[in-house]
């Protein structure tokens, strides 16, 4: 096995179908999202739901999520309607399941969902008083700040052992007797 960090893989949005066939939980949650899209969009929503299901079969979770969000918005889904809420729950559940599968643990999923609920409540509450652009911009800035903060934390944690370029000078050879 080659070094994980050294492997320069090209990103592909597609994932193999046979891997999907084992994910019953994902199928269930995707079905919720498909149903939500169908409810939100009527006949057009059914077609969009089928398209979303096809995406889930062949593409990665994040791509399925983006496609699902665009489809819900495209079929004219109002965020306050049951169909849109159902689709949102299904799509967020898809991301949560991907997180659980990757880390093989419920704790990151719990943290993610808890943060999401808090975020949605805060988003909705703030939306009552502040324009969407400010609420959205503020939330985005908060996420960027979190990414930066976690990067600093990672450097501090790994720093005492020297990570990446900080330890690039290691492994040098001192050739005192080279001319012997």
């Amino acid at each position: 096995m080659s070094s994980p960090a050294a492997t320069a893989e090209l990103y592909s949005p597609a994932e193999r179908l046979e891997a999907r066939s084992h994910r019953v939980a994902e199928l269930v949650i995707t079905s919720v999202a498909v149903a939500g899209v169908a409810v939100a969009g009527g006949r057009l929503g059914v077609v969009a739901g089928v398209a979303l299901l096809a995406c889930w079969l062949y593409l990665r979770a994040e791509v399925t999520f983006v496609v699902g969000a665009v489809l819900v918005a495209g079929v004219g889904g109002d965020p306050s309607t049951p169909g849109a809420v159902l689709a949102a729950v299904g799509l967020a559940g898809l991301l949560a399941l991907e997180l659980a599968r990757a880390w093989d643990s419920a704790r990151p999923v719990g943290a993610f969902l808890a943060s999401l609920v808090v975020g949605v409540v805060a988003f909705v509450a703030a939306g009552e008083f502040v324009a969407l652009r400010w609420v959205g911009g503020g939330a985005a800035a908060g996420l960027v700040g979190a990414v930066y903060g976690l990067t600093r934390v990672e450097r501090r944690v790994a720093g005492h052992r020297g990570s990446g370029a900080e330890a690039a000078g290691a492994g040098q050879s001192e050739q005192e007797g080279a001319e012997q």
């Binding site: 994980p4 090209l10 990103y11 093989d104 993610f112 959205g136 976690l150 990446g164 290691a170 050879s173």
Partner: protein, 513 residues
């Protein structure tokens, strides 16, 4: 921490959704983008949480041996141990300096998800002599989602002392037993005129009046002489054989390399005691250096340089020249003709016929013997001749040693047994070869005023002769061989390679005289 393409793709999706949502004032798209961003942050947070486990890991690099020779294989252990298991795979490799050969494929220890320790060993070689640092170990990892990668360098490095290939574990001895000393103070165990006071004694008729110690005489009320330790100098002639056969052995561990070490020890000892020493070197076609004994720094350093720069000469090939190449004998004949030709053509060609190896004196056959003969002429009585050669020409060596004993000369012969420089020679066959050599050495040492020693790599000697049981077996075998030889002489068995009697015969003495 580095991010992968997947991270950027997801970040792009999130940014696009948020951007479009804000522009279109669509809270659904904006919320979807923020959700995707939060998902990314969750991955990052869990990745950062596990980095601490990797940072606390025990990553060690450990060579099995701390000292190796250049190009000698050394096994290195690479070990990784985690305090707790990780949900993703961890690869640990090692930083090797450019002077150390990197094995292909590169040594990697992989801890799969859930593993806590793993270890591997790989073989490498150092190409350059010196102090080399192996490591540290480098752990590389990628989070379970494939968004982030990280690299952590271990704390521990391992020092590897890479020694140049040179004679090592030098053994000088007799019959497998090492000598305790080679050279020392030159006490004569006699008193007389000298520098070091030894004591006083009463004057007896016949003593020189000038030797009377007047202070002692006045103190003791009777004529007394002060005695001094009589010390002498060792006049030594080193005769170093560097013919083609002394090139046997591994690179920088040839017979000549070992003989060189012994020769340099004599030069150093002479330097320490300010003894006169000379050097004569013997190539395949004659004497390559002749420097008569003398004392002083102007003598020792040039001799050291001569000895250090000795390389095995080339034996004259006997094969028929092919493809237009000219045999050395033919070239010499042409060169001789050119010497007497004053034409411009001859002058132009002459340099091309000069031999690359410079000889002081070209000797047709037995160059060692003839060199010793010439050296002996320059030595005083009682001088020491140190002959350093191998065992490929026993008859010539014996003749040379006996020649050196003339005029009261003492001789030390240092022989490199071929069996110890032939890596193919192992087991019983090697031991038999050693016995044959030992018989020759003992026969040489039996000559009056001649001491003969073996010079060999200690590890090879131990491997062939054996350290403990081998030495007893050796003693028995040597004794048995002697009896066998004696029986063989009367029983008509095949003579050995060194088919000479242990002691010189009357005929040999007469021949030498």
């Amino acid at each position: 921490m580095r991010v992968t393409r997947r991270f950027w793709v997801v970040l792009g999706f999130a940014g696009a959704l948020v951007g479009v949502g804000l522009v279109a004032v669509d809270p659904l798209l904006a919320g979807a983008g923020l959700t995707l961003g939060l998902w990314l942050v969750a991955y990052q947070a869990w990745f950062v949480r596990t980095v601490g486990t990797v940072a606390a890991a025990d990553l060690t690099v450990e060579p099995v041996r701390a000292r190796v020779a250049v190009d000698a294989p050394v096994v290195v252990r690479l070990r990784a141990r985690l305090e707790s298991a990780l949900p993703y795979a961890l690869s640990v490799t090692v930083d090797l300096p450019p002077t150390v050969e990197t094995p292909e494929p590169r040594p990697v220890v992989t801890l799969d998800a859930g593993d806590r320790s793993a270890e591997t060993a790989f073989e490498t070689r150092a190409r350059v002599a010196g102090e080399t640092t192996l490591g540290p170990a480098v752990a590389s990892f990628r989070d379970a989602g494939g968004f982030f990668t990280g690299t952590v360098h271990g704390d521990e490095t391992a020092d590897l002392a890479v020694q140049p290939r040179a004679p090592r574990d030098l053994h000088v001895g007799e019959g497998g037993d090492p000598l305790t000393s080679l050279y020392g103070e030159h006490r004569t165990d006699a008193t007389g005129a000298g520098l070091e006071p030894s004591g006083v004694r009463e004057y007896v008729p016949g003593d020189q009046l000038s030797r009377i110690d007047w202070k002692a005489t006045a103190r003791l009320n009777h004529p007394h002489l002060r005695e001094f330790d009589v010390r002498t100098t060792h006049e030594t002639a080193l005769v170093v054989d560097h013919r083609a056969s002394t090139g046997a052995g591994r690179e920088r561990e040839t017979k000549l390399d070992y003989l060189r070490e012994v020769a340099l020890a004599f030069v150093n000892a002479a330097d320490e005691h300010n003894d006169p020493i000379g050097v004569y070197t013997v190539g395949d076609e004659g004497t390559t250096t002749a420097r008569d004994p003398a004392a002083g720094v102007e003598q020792y350093d040039p001799i050291r340089r001569v000895v250090e720069r000795l390389t095995p000469t080339t034996a004259e090939p006997t094969a028929t020249p092919v493809d237009g190449l000219v045999a050395p004998s033919r070239a010499r004949a042409v060169a001789t003709r050119l010497q007497g030709d004053p034409s411009a053509f001859a002058r132009t060609l002459r340099p091309y016929f000069d031999a690359s190896e410079q000889y002081v004196r070209r000797l047709g056959d037995r160059p060692l013997f003839r060199t010793v003969q010439a050296a002996r002429a320059a030595l005083g009585s009682g001088a020491w001749t140190v002959i350093l050669t191998d065992d490929t020409r026993p008859r010539e060596t014996r003749e040379a040693a006996r020649m050196a004993t003339r005029n009261g000369g003492n001789v030390l012969v240092f022989l490199t047994p071929s069996v110890f420089y032939d890596p193919e020679s192992v087991g019983e066959a090697a031991f038999e070869r050693y016995l044959t050599f030992e018989e020759f050495r003992r026969s040489l040492a039996a000559v009056d005023r001649v001491s003969a020693f073996e010079v060999a790599p200690g590890d090879r000697l131990a491997a062939v002769v054996g350290r403990e049981a081998g030495s007893r077996r050796h003693a028995r075998s040597v004794a048995g061989t002697g009896q066998q030889r004696a029986a063989g002489d009367t029983g008509g068995q095949e003579p050995l390679a060194y088919s000479e009697s242990p002691r010189p015969t009357v005929d040999e003495e007469a021949t030498d005289e």
